[in-house]
Symmetry: C2
C-alpha cells in the first residue's frame, strides 16, 4: 500500500463513518475501487448516486476475497455476525479495520470469529462524529485533523499496522496507538462517564411534576452541560454495555467524589469546596481540545 | 416612577451587573443621575470615565437618603454589611433591589439588617452574565431579552414591587416572580447542581497521574460538559454555601440516580439504561433556552 493506491476497499455500513472513509480516500486519490454493503437498500442507492461507492456488494464471499482493506463501520453490536460471515473468505493479504467507539468488545468478537486470521484485524476508533446519519451525512473532510486511535493486537505484524495506519492517515487523520484496554479506560473517563452523567441529570429532572417550570429557568450552564444528553439512546446504551467494566469503575470513583463534596457541603467546609473547584478550574481553563 | 424618569439611582458594585444596570437605564433615557460606590478606586474611576456613573459616592448616609432606587450589585457575601450601613439613612420613598444569584440568604440578611424597613427591599436575580469582570465589562444590552426573577416579600407593597419590576423592564429584561424558596430550589436543580457536578468531574481527573493522557483524548462531549468547571471557584463556593440546603437535597437525589444506573449497568439491565437515556434525550432534544 504505502505510497501506492489501495486497489480495492470493502466497507460495511455506509453512514457517516464508512461513507466519509471512502470519500476521504477518493479525495486523496488513494483508492481504485470501493464496494459497499449495508442493510438499507435506499441508503445504499443514495451512496451509489452520491459517488461514495462504486458498486453495491451482492456477494460477501466474492468481494472480501480480493479486497486490500475492509472497514467495519456498522454499529458495534453487528460486528460479530459480520466477522463470522467474512472470516471464511478473507484473502491472504486482506486487512480489516473498524470504526467502533469501544475496543475491548470488538477485539473479543474478532478473536472469537477470526480465529487464526486474527493478525489481519487492526482495530481502530476514529474520534469524529457521534451520530450515524446515513450516507448523506458523509463528507471527504470528516477525518481531517481528527484523531484516530489504533489498538493493535500482539498478532498484528508491524507491516499490517503500518498499512492500516497509512489508510487512516490518507484520510487526513492523526493516528495514535493504545492497547484496547487503555483505550476503553481512557474513553470511560473522558467520554462515556460524562455522557452517563448528563443523561442522568436530565432524566432526574424529567421525573418531576415541575419539570417545565425548572427548564424554563435553565440557562447557558445547563445548556452546555446537557448537550450530550440529546445523543442517541440506543448508541449510548450499547457503548455503556460494551465498556461497562471500565465505566462502572469510573462511576464508582465519581460517586465517591460526590459523597465527599456532599459531606463538605453539609459540614460547611468552605475550604474543601473552594480547593476542589479551584483545582478543577485551573485544569479546565488550561485545557483546549486538540 | 412608572413612565416617569427615576431621579436618582445609587449602585453598590460597578461591575458587569451594576454597570450594565446603569447603562441600560441611561440607554432607555430613564434615569437622571447615577451614583456609584465600590471598593476598587481604579474601577470606580474607570466607571466614571466610561460614563457609567455620574459621580463616585463618598458619603453613604447622604447618598441613600434621597435615592429613588438602590441596587446592591456586590458579591452576595458583602450585602449584609452594606445593608447595615444603608439601613439607618434610607429615605422613606427609597427602594432597594439586588443582583444576587441566591435569594434565601440575601433575604435573611435583609430582614436582620433592615428591620422595620424590610418592605423597601424587593430582591432580584438577573439571569445574565456569570462573571464579575469590572466596569469595563458592562454594557447597555446585557439584560435585553434576559430573565430577571423578582422574589417579593410579604411586606412589599404591590406598588413597591411594580416600581422595581418597571426598573428592570426598562433595562430590557423579562421579569418573573417566584418566592425566595422557589427560586433557590429551582436554581439548585438547573444551575448550582450542574456546576458542582462539572467541577467534580474535572477535579476527579485532576487527581490522576495520567491526567494529561486522559485530557489529550477528550473531545467535544467533554468540552461542553466541563465548560462551567472553568467558572470562578470563589463565586461558586459562595453560591453553594448560600444555597446549601437546596443543593444538598438535589445532590442526594442525583447520587441516588447514579446508584440506580450503576446497579442497572452491573446487572446488564439494557432496558433500564435505554429507558433512562431515552427519557433524557426526548426532554433535552425538545428544550431550547429562552
Amino acid at each position: 500500500m504505502d505510497t501506492l493506491k489501495i486497489n480495492k476497499v470493502v466497507i460495511f455500513g455506509i453512514g457517516l463513518i464508512g461513507g466519509s472513509f471512502s470519500l476521504a480516500l477518493r479525495k486523496a486519490n488513494a483508492v481504485t475501487g470501493v464496494v459497499g454493503f449495508g442493510r438499507s437498500a435506499a441508503n445504499m442507492q443514495q451512496a451509489l448516486q452520491l459517488g461514495i461507492i462504486d458498486r453495491i456488494g451482492q456477494d460477501i464471499a466474492a468481494e472480501v476475497s480480493d479486497a486490500d482493506l475492509i472497514l467495519l463501520a456498522t454499529p458495534v453490536g453487528q460486528m460479530a455476525e459480520l466477522l463470522a460471515r467474512i472470516a471464511p473468505h478473507l484473502g491472504a493479504h486482506t486487512l480489516i479495520t473498524d470504526g467502533g467507539s469501544t475496543k475491548g468488545d470488538v477485539v473479543r468478537d474478532a478473536y472469537a470469529q477470526l480465529g487464526n486470521k486474527i493478525a489481519q484485524f487492526v482495530p481502530a476508533h476514529p474520534i469524529a462524529g457521534a451520530e450515524q446519519s446515513g450516507a448523506a451525512a458523509a463528507g471527504p473532510d470528516l477525518y481531517a485533523g481528527k484523531k484516530v486511535i489504533l489498538t493493535p493486537l500482539p498478532e498484528n505484524s508491524p507491516a499490517a499496522v503500518a498499512r492500516v495506519r497509512h489508510a487512516w492517515e490518507l484520510c487526513g487523520a492523526m493516528v495514535n496507538e493504545l492497547t484496547p484496554t487503555q483505550h476503553d479506560e481512557i474513553f470511560a473517563a473522558v467520554s462515556h462517564l460524562p455522557h452517563l452523567l448528563s443523561f442522568a441529570l436530565v432524566h432526574d429532572l424529567a421525573q418531576r411534576d415541575n419539570r417545565d417550570l425548572l427548564l424554563s429557568f435553565a440557562a447557558s450552564g445547563f445548556r452546555d452541560f446537557t448537550r450530550i444528553a440529546a445523543s442517541s439512546p440506543e448508541m449510548w446504551r450499547d457503548i455503556c454495555m460494551a465498556n461497562r467494566d471500565a465505566l462502572l469503575k469510573e462511576l464508582q470513583i465519581y460517586i465517591a467524589e460526590l459523597n465527599q463534596l456532599s459531606t463538605a457541603l453539609a459540614a460547611g467546609d468552605v475550604e474543601k469546596l473552594e480547593q476542589t473547584f479551584h483545582t478543577a478550574q485551573q485544569l479546565r481553563a488550561g485545557w483546549t481540545e486538540k
